[in-house]
Amino acid sequence: MCDAMESGSQGIISVRGLRKSFGRNEVLKGIDLDVSEGEVVSVIGPSGSGKSTLARCMCRLERVDCGSVSLCGLEVSSGRHRNGDIARLVGMIFQQFNLYPHLSVLQNITLSPVRTLGMSREEAEVLAYGLLAEVGMSDKASARPRQLSGGQQQRVAIARALAMHPRIMLFDEPTSALDPELVGEVLEVMARLAESGMTMVIITHEMTFARDVSDRVVFMDDGAIVEQGAPSVVFSNPQHARTRQFLQRLLVASGGGSVVRTGECVNGL
């Protein structure tokens, strides 16, 4: 449950009137979004639609121009909180993993718990080994990131984020930088995390995953949320022309077997 700070009946994530520009380019044009505890929300949409910026505003990697982002009732967009306070609420998974290349897998995971949560090294290592087991990376604890495949690196990145015991996990295109054959192992870890009740917001192009794992799909275009709803509704019966266009384009763009899979997304449900 949310802490005492929780205000009103809002969700664990509450985004209100969020606007963000880079120079003259307005990337987010007033976003309202609520996510309730344990909910898994996939955000889809064409590149440049502002999905990533939304996720980055949620974990305060970007300062918001206007509006607010509240996590567990804590207005993180106010800029008044320390990085450590934010990290306890939300974990972020990057497209490029961003593991620390100079540290071992184990040290990657223990650094923040030891340095920001004041955990002892032994305690943190026990925690890290547990998390590595969960993502199936126990045997790589002493490896360096560069010795791992992309999929392995991303699984370590997930373990690293979980070590801060966040209430929410954000995924910014977590499989977009992976070779196709490595996508599955990462999605599998994410699916298990979703099952465990973690609140998740996933920026993704993996439509099958979005359909199968998420409770809600949000379609963004041109800095605004165009439509959202249960995956079955958004994928099989999109209400807006732009959503239909986007899903159509995906269908055309993907070749061979994945046409069938994406086709299922659009028509099959």
Binding site: N83, D85, G91, N98, Y100, H102, T116, L117
Partner: protein, 217 residues
């Protein structure tokens, strides 16, 4: 005409004493210069404009004026302000301040060379700016800075010859003394040059060794 090293060789002790002073002064200057240089380099990138400007000005002045002028300013100029330093103190201080300007630029380059994703990751994982810098950014930056650091040490060994102008008997000054006694100028400075070359070679070799060891991941 023949060259006669027989006058120079017996005075090898003088050369080696000088070389020792050269190594000592440049090592001290490297130490202090690196510490100050890391501070300057960090100030150069810290997200606080006044500090950035301050560090930039320091680098600008140090790199835009001759090291010899800086040494003379400290040794001959500062006494006007009531600051009287010995030749040795002036020399080491001057070389350190000079080196810090260059090391500052090396550090800045190293820090800026660390991908933005590393800052972002450490930030969302709760590390403060200072902790990100200390545990994530600097350790990576140092690795990329090593070759430039090595060059800086080599430069310092050579620039320490300027201390001869402050009456410090380092290697070049020792050469002067031997030359003034023996008049064997050619032989003397062949030996002096050879010793410098040995010092810079050993330094270069040592640093390549450290680089290799550090890069094994």
């Amino acid at each position: 005409m023949g060259f006669d090293f027989s006058l120079v060789i017996p005075r090898m002790g003088l050369f080696l004493d000088g070389a020792l002073v050269t190594v000592e002064t440049s090592a001290m200057a490297l130490l202090f210069g690196s510490i100050l240089g890391v501070v300057v380099g960090i100030l150069r990138v810290v997200p606080l404009k006044p500090l950035q400007v301050l560090a930039a000005c320091y680098i600008y002045v140090i790199r835009g004026t001759p090291a010899l002028t800086q040494l003379f300013f400290i040794y001959f100029g500062l006494p006007s302000l009531g600051i009287n330093l010995s030749g040795m103190a002036s020399g080491v201080l001057g070389l350190s301040l000079n080196s810090a300007g260059y090391v500052g630029e090396i550090v800045r380059g190293g820090i800026e060379g660390v991908p933005a994703g590393q800052w972002e990751a450490s930030r969302v994982l709760g590390l403060s700016y200072a902790k990100s810098m200390r545990f994530v950014i600097l350790p990576q930056a140092v690795r990329s800075m090593l070759p430039a650091f090595g060059n800086e040490f080599v430069t310092l060994i050579k620039e320490s010859s300027l201390l001869s102008t402050l009456a410090i008997t380092e290697l070049t000054m020792a050469g002067q003394q031997v030359r003034s006694v023996t008049y064997a100028s050619f032989e003397t400075f062949i030996v002096v040059g050879a010793i410098y070359l040995a010092l810079t070679s050993i330094t270069g070799f040592g640093l390549r060794f450290v680089e290799k060891k550090w890069n094994v991941v």
